[in-house]
């Protein structure tokens, strides 16, 4: 399919966001602490679309919240009344703007995980009701390596619209029908893109890719056999000793999807909630069963679980790796564990 390209002046983007806000909840990168995070905005002025690299936290929480009530229930004399929270998601209309190609790829990974054999209706509802406006990088951050995970600096799918900052304007690539409709309903905001605009984007992407390529990493998408061969490598013990098993890498990963499920009763003991919260495969309790058996007791086995899940198990499970090269796990690790170093060390 021939892709449609347009441009939008920087001031006009604010106007577009203003219009979208009339009918949608808009999520955008906003400055927080030393970086930016995605949050719901009440004015386009709050947006920071010039952030470098990735946001502190991935956008997955707007599709798969860190804590989510699945349903609430009332226990009555004549039965139990269950109210499914999914109903409320049907009217959700949200836009996420400023999301990077690596994080969009993260959503594509979650799409596959949450629709594997069973369908996760909560994730699907949020995903279906969200317009994705991506934003490519002008400058990679310190730990970015998307080129080696095939998730940037440009991507072919997963966005409705994809912006590239060209200085005074954005180049806009239309990815879907949904994105095309935004253009069609706001004809005063978009202009047709020319050869020059496309060349400029190409130049920016090439430069970003070059800078990331300088790290000279192996192709992460084809490490499957290599990793399997090195399952019993001596280096894992070292990383097992290093890891603090804090779970930060899980919680900042755009594709980690593990969760715990529990009931939260009201103190009247007449009503309760079924809740799911993000969980971490680094926690010792993660594999504990009723008998007390813990299947990944050694920290080494837990360090391996995460890395192998990303690079091997994921390939078996959904056909692709689930590392998107955002580098957040490297950025946040208090023990200084760097997946790029792990792979380099295994290569010897």
């Amino acid at each position: 399919m021939e892709r449609e390209f347009l441009t939008i002046a920087k001031e006009s983007l604010n106007e577009l966001v203003d219009r979208l806000m009339e009918t949608h909840q808009v999520i955008a990168p906003v400055p927080r602490n030393d970086g930016v995070v995605f949050d719901v905005i009440s004015s386009p002025k709050e947006m920071d679309l010039e952030y470098r690299g990735h946001t502190l936290l991935p956008p997955k929480r707007f599709f798969f919240p860190e804590k989510e009530i699945l349903f609430v229930y009332k226990v009555k004399a004549d039965g139990v009344e269950i109210h499914d929270k999914l109903e409320e998601l049907k009217s959700l209309r949200q836009v996420i703007i400023g999301i990077r190609p690596c994080d969009i790829t993260g959503l594509l990974v979650l799409d596959k995980i949450f629709t594997k054999m069973f369908k996760d209706p909560y994730y699907i509802a949020r995903r279906k009701n969200t317009l994705v406006i991506g934003l490519t990088c002008n400058e990679p951050a310190e730990y970015c390596f998307c080129v080696f995970t095939n998730s940037g600096p440009l991507l072919k799918e997963g966005f409705d619209l994809l912006l590239t900052d060209l200085g005074d304007r954005y180049l806009v690539e239309v990815g879907t029908e949904k994105g095309s409709n935004v253009v069609r309903f706001n004809p005063d905001i978009f202009s047709k893109a020319g050869e020059r605009d496309l060349r400029e984007r190409e130049e920016i992407i090439r430069e970003v890719a070059e800078r990331i390529k300088a790290q000279k990493l192996p192709d992460f998408t084809s490490l499957y056999d290599f990793m399997r061969r090195n399952f019993n490598s001596k280096i894992w013990e070292k990383y097992g000793r290093k890891c603090l098993a804090c779970g930060k890498c899980n919680f900042t990963c755009p594709t980690c999807h593990c969760f715990d499920v529990f009931d939260d009763p009201d103190l009247s003991l007449k009503s309760g909630k079924r809740i799911r919260v993000w969980d971490s495969c680094h926690f010792i309790s993660f594999t504990r069963v009723a008998s007390g058996e813990i299947f990944r007791r050694e920290r080494t086995s837990r360090v391996k679980q995460r890395i192998y899940h990303k690079l091997c198990y994921s390939v078996d499970e959904i056909g692709i790796i689930s590392c998107v090269g955002c580098g957040r796990c490297i950025d946040v690790c208090s023990a200084g564990i760097d997946v790029r170093e792990v792979v380099r060390e295994l290569e010897g």
Partner: protein, 280 residues
């Protein structure tokens, strides 16, 4: 199951049977009769059971797949959900999702001799298989059940064991006897000493603590059992049952989707230590 697979369907506790001081069998029936009629499961599959206010936990179905008016779970008091369940009475409501997972390969092993090995509460999913086998007795060769429990007091399905022994070879052992116990004493592998089995013609279904399955598997391999004649049911804490929550994964395989029943040749390739013990 139609609709949102996270929403449990209401079921009533029709009957509760005390098996041991801390194990009970609960007979359940969906409130919605149509749902009860449609509820088909294979022996070895599991359900997610909700005790409202306390949470949800996975349990193997222990009843016969041919009993369509009800289904049963046999539960040992272990944690929050099971303790709350123990306090429930006949007529109380619980929530049920499922069935989930893959059960025993009963159809595939037709014509063969069946060796069933259960340890402790691990006999629960085997009971469902036994009841299936009894209904289809002529389709199978010799059937032997080896069952081990800690003490005579901990033996589950006591009267049924006697009834079953009319149709299959039932052998029981306990780790520690008491003054009245005149049966075998020792772990379940001691029962193998008296058995004459043809490994080529026999398939073994086992469910019990990991340590039991390790020693039983070791013994079977020594006896010359082909790897695909050894079938295990693995215990993991399946929280969602649908391949999302990650708690039951072993080397990227979801026990809730692909298991809990695996043939040993499938399990052997698993990389992690807890399972590697089976592959030595």
């Amino acid at each position: 199951m139609n609709g949102n697979p996270y929403i449990p369907k209401l079921a009533v506790i029709e009957n509760i049977k005390d098996e041991t001081p801390n194990i009970k069998t609960f007979r359940l029936k969906f409130l919605d009769e149509a749902l009860q009629k449609e509820f088909n499961f294979a022996p070895g599959q599991f359900i997610e059971l909700t005790v409202f206010m306390y949470g949800e936990a996975p349990f193997s179905i222990s009843s016969s797949p041919f009993s369509t008016d009800f289904f049963e779970i046999t539960v040992k008091k272990m944690g929050t959900v099971t303790s709350a369940l123990m306090r429930k009475k006949t007529g109380d409501l619980v929530g049920v999702r499922g069935p989930f997972g893959r059960g025993w390969p009963l159809v595939e092993v037709r014509g063969m001799n069946i060796l069933l090995v259960g340890g402790g509460i691990g006999i629960a999913p085997l009971r469902s298989a036994i009841l299936f086998l009894l209904s289809r007795r002529r389709d199978y060769g010799d059937i032997t059940l080896l069952y081990g429990a800690r003490t005579p007091r901990d033996l589950v399905f006591k009267e049924e064991l006697e009834r079953w022994s009319e149709h299959l070879d039932v052998r029981v052992t306990v780790d520690r006897g008491d003054e009245k116990w005149r049966g075998r004493v020792g772990v379940v592998t001691v029962l193998f000493d008296e058995l004459e089995l043809d490994p080529k013609e026999t398939v073994c279904f086992q469910c019990g603590p990991p340590i039991m399955m390790y020693f039983v598997t070791k013994r079977l391999l020594e006896m010359g059992f082909p790897k695909d004649h050894i079938v295990v049911s693995l215990e993991r804490l399946m929280k969602c049952g649908m391949g999302f929550c990650g708690h039951c994964t072993i080397s990227g395989r979801y026990v809730c989707l692909e298991g809990p029943v695996f043939r040993y040749n499938e399990v052997k390739g698993f990389l992690e230590r807890a399972v590697e013990v089976y592959s030595e």
